[in-house]
């Protein structure tokens, strides 16, 4: 049962990153590349009718985490208190920027909300990468100092940073050079992803330029991925142990690289959706590879006193997990239907949706 919910949760989080990821990416493109009003409109049209439903994947994943793994939910949400609340604030700015810019026809007003939307998207991408970094690196569970826990074994609290910015000391912070590195990977990957979405959903003048940009960004992404992989052993001395134990896990890194290399060919694609497919594969592969490498851990402990949080020691009770399956299956079928209808109605290019122009 725990395993079932673990897989469900990971799928939901991955879907969230793939879907809302293109919104963040579009926001970053909006911030750095969209100069003309027409380009900006194209971008908001491409994500307008979707972003809210995409964000629901985060809420729903949060709900499933709460119900299936309450101890992990409690421990990680209180431990990562500050960044989580900041993510909430950024999500608010993102939404407000997107929804309100069209409500008043005034240059300054639109400039302010454009920047709010763009900067919030950029920071969100960075924060989600940093979050992933924290999960892989682990935390000081039980807040051990001098060999003994100062709190219950599964609670912790991290400040935003510590002066050393080192991922290997006893005094960890949310931001250190390792998590920042993953943050950068996320920013670049999601920018590419967002660009692909815009190419896929619009006929804007930007498309041609974006294809070139994707190529360059993809080179950068490749470099960042190689750096991350080559320093991974600092965080996890034995990074391959799971891939040796469960050889089929290799499928995840393979998918990642298919995605990454597919993206280099973006300029020659005949169909505009293909680039989006490859960047989705990259995100899917990257996330699954990372969580697979620490499985069954969900949040590793960096001390030797308290055990890591794993799929097995944070789950809710058996009965609740089993009844949950019934309603979850029904709900999933419904969600699939909604998504089908939604993407069906808004299929093809969306340049004329007129988003936000009431």
């Amino acid at each position: 049962m725990e395993l079932f919910w673990y897989i469900v949760l990971m799928i939901m989080l991955t879907v969230y990153i793939i879907l809302d990821g293109y919104d963040f990416g579009a926001g970053i493109i909006h911030l750095f590349f969209a100069k003309k009003e027409k380009d900006k409109k194209a971008i908001t049209n491409a994500i307008g009718p979707f972003w809210d439903a995409n964000e629901v994947w985060l809420i729903a994943a949060g709900g499933v985490l709460f119900f299936a793994f309450p101890t992990l939910y409690a421990s990680s949400f209180s431990g990562f208190y500050l960044p989580l609340i900041m993510i909430l604030w950024l999500l608010i700015f993102r939404a407000v920027g997107l929804e309100l810019r069209g409500q008043v026809h005034n240059k300054l007003w639109q400039l302010v909300w454009d920047k709010a939307f763009g900067i919030a998207s950029l920071l969100l991408a960075l924060f989600f990468g940093i979050a992933l970094g924290n999960v892989v690196r682990g935390v000081n569970l039980g807040m051990v100092t001098d060999g003994s826990s100062t709190h219950e074994a599964h609670y912790f609290f991290l400040p935003l940073w510590n002066p050393t910015f080192s991922p290997t000391t006893e005094h960890l912070g949310i931001i250190d050079w390792f998590t920042i590195l993953l943050g950068l990977v996320a920013v670049v990957a999601l920018t590419i992803h967002g660009a692909n979405w815009i190419i896929f959903k619009t006929n804007s003048d930007l498309n041609h330029k974006l294809k070139k940009t994707i190529f360059k960004l993809n080179l950068l992404l490749l470099v960042l991925v190689i750096i991350s992989l080559s320093i991974w052993h600092i965080i996890e001395p034995n990074p391959f142990h799971n891939f040796i134990e469960y050889p089929w896990f290799w499928i995840f890194p393979i998918i990642t690289f298919i995605g990454l290399f597919g993206l280099f060919k973006v300029k020659s694609f005949k169909r505009d959706g293909l680039g989006f497919l490859f960047s989705s594969l990259f995100l899917f592969g990257g996330l699954t590879t990372t969580v697979a490498s620490i499985f069954p851990k969900l949040l590793p402990s960096t001390n030797t006193v308290n055990p890591s949080l794993t799929v097995y020691n944070v789950a809710a009770h058996e009965y609740g997990l089993s009844v949950g399956v019934y309603w979850f299956v029904i709900a999933t079928i419904l969600v699939a239907i909604y998504m089908f209808v939604q993407y069906r109605v808004f299929k093809g290019k969306m340049d004329d949706v007129g988003y936000g122009e009431h």
Partner: protein, 443 residues
């Protein structure tokens, strides 16, 4: 430790109070928009479709506010109430996860279609998407109230040795006797909010002598919906919820009603008075003898235990706050019935659109349903104190053990600043939409 609890509570209270300002309009207004759309399909009179389109603009803005302030709510169980989440997550996590899966997906997928898909979909399907948005928001209310009901009246659980609550009976969460009365009460209360908003905007147009056709339509629709929902909120649903409290939380009931002493031969109903906690009595009281006993037990002489009969350790932590909240809600409810009754009478006599003082009253009533809804929730929440899960888990035992008070104060201040900005933007933009008024389609 005290500070930690205090800031956590302030943050939760502030953010949920602000959040709930929006869903109450969402739920009620979606019903009224569906009504306008339905009228249009039946009569093919453009006015109804234009009315629906106008309210959809307000709805979209309001909905966006509900969404952005709702997400922090979901996260805060984990960030600020970690111990509570850890211990009860196996139970309330069920209903909260169901809310995400069943209602938020429904609402958010079809809202986009509803707002931007009229041309693509055609009128019938467009009506359907509106209906689905309505359904989603009401399902969300249902699952939230189910969660809330479990905290007021826990059912279907077992407590393990390590203090964790585990679910033993899923269907008990939904057959909880607290749930249906509270849900219906709350939903009618949210229809009240939307009716008063619609009527107030209508009155605004009539008094301004602008958009008169729409003004009449809005006032009429608002008054009819408003009268029905105001009556239903008080009776039977308010009555049911009050009886539940009397039965399952007698201390809370005594405090809510301001009854300090048990009276032989039946209790009076307090209309006005100020609780004096130092001397355990009610000052300057105006009360009607025996009515409370009758309302609660249909027996003029039934005994109702006074607050002084319970040990102080089980008293609600903020008796005056609880008492005032409850009396404000009930008092406003009475005024709503009165005003809507008069307005409906004038409507029936075909004089409403000319009776200036009623139109002015409708306009000025606009904020009061919000106050009634908020004080209603304060009644429920303050009444539950000092418990998080009634009789089982104290509020002080539910907070996050590792989050320091300085950090909570920081985020509380951040929320206050951010929400003030949101409130300003909302008022400004809603004002703009209202001032511009509905547009008539010229077909």
């Amino acid at each position: 430790m005290e500070d930690m609890i205090f800031y956590d509570r302030m943050q939760f209270a502030f953010t949920i109070t602000f959040h709930y300002l929006f869903p109450q309009l969402t739920m009620g207004l979606s019903l009224m928009i569906v009504y306008f759309k339905w009228k249009f399909l039946r009569t093919k009179i453009d006015k109804y479709n234009d009315a629906a389109k106008f309210w959809m603009k307000i709805f979209a803005l309001n909905f966006a506010m509900g969404v952005v302030t709702g997400i922090p709510m979901e996260f805060q169980f984990g960030t600020n109430w970690a111990k509570f989440s850890e211990l009860t997550g196996g139970i309330i996590g069920q209903t909260l996860a169901m809310e995400g899966m069943f209602s938020f997906f429904l609402e958010s997928s079809f809202l986009g279609l509803f707002l931007f898909g009229e041309k693509l979909l055609g009128q019938k399907l467009h009506f359907l998407t509106g209906f689905l948005v309505f359904l989603g928001s009401w399902a969300s209310g249902y699952l939230i109230i189910a969660t809330h009901s479990w905290m007021q009246f826990p059912v279907g659980y077992e407590i393990l040795e390590n203090g964790k609550f585990v679910l033993t009976n899923f269907s008990a969460l939904f057959s909880n006797p607290w749930l249906m009365p509270a849900y219906l009460h709350n939903q009618f209360a949210s229809i009240i909010t939307s009716s008063f908003v619609v009527a107030a905007i209508g009155a605004f147009y009539l008094l301004n002598n602008k958009h008169n056709d729409f003004g009449k339509l809005f006032v009429k629709t608002g008054v009819i919906f408003g009268l029905i929902s105001s009556v239903l909120v008080a009776f039977p649903t308010g009555d049911w919820t009050a009886k539940n409290v009397a039965k399952h939380q007698p201390v809370t009931f005594a405090a809510m009603e301001g009854i300090f002493e048990t009276e032989e031969g039946g209790s009076e109903i307090v209309l006005i008075g100020q609780p004096d906690m130092e001397n355990k009595k009610l000052d300057n009281k105006i009360a009607v003898p025996n009515v409370l006993s009758f309302l609660t037990y249909q027996n003029w002489n039934a005994e109702i235990k006074g607050l002084n009969e319970f040990d102080e350790s089980v008293h609600p932590t903020n008796v005056p706050g609880l008492y005032y909240s409850y009396h404000i809600m009930v008092g406003l409810g009475t005024i709503f019935i009165g005003l809507m009754g008069i307005a409906a009478l004038q409507l029936y006599r075909k004089k409403l659109y000319k009776t200036k003082w009623v139109l002015w009253s409708l306009l000025f009533m606009l904020p009061f349903p919000y106050i009634a809804n908020t004080t209603g929730w304060y009644t429920a929440e303050l009444g539950r104190q000092p418990w998080l899960v009634y009789n089982l888990l104290k509020t002080s035992e539910g907070i996050s053990p590792t989050v320091s008070s300085g950090n909570t104060l920081f985020t509380l201040l951040g929320f206050i600043g951010l929400y003030l900005l949101l409130a300003l933007l909302f008022l400004m933009l809603a004002g703009k939409i209202i001032n511009k008024g509905p547009e008539t389609s010229n077909q």
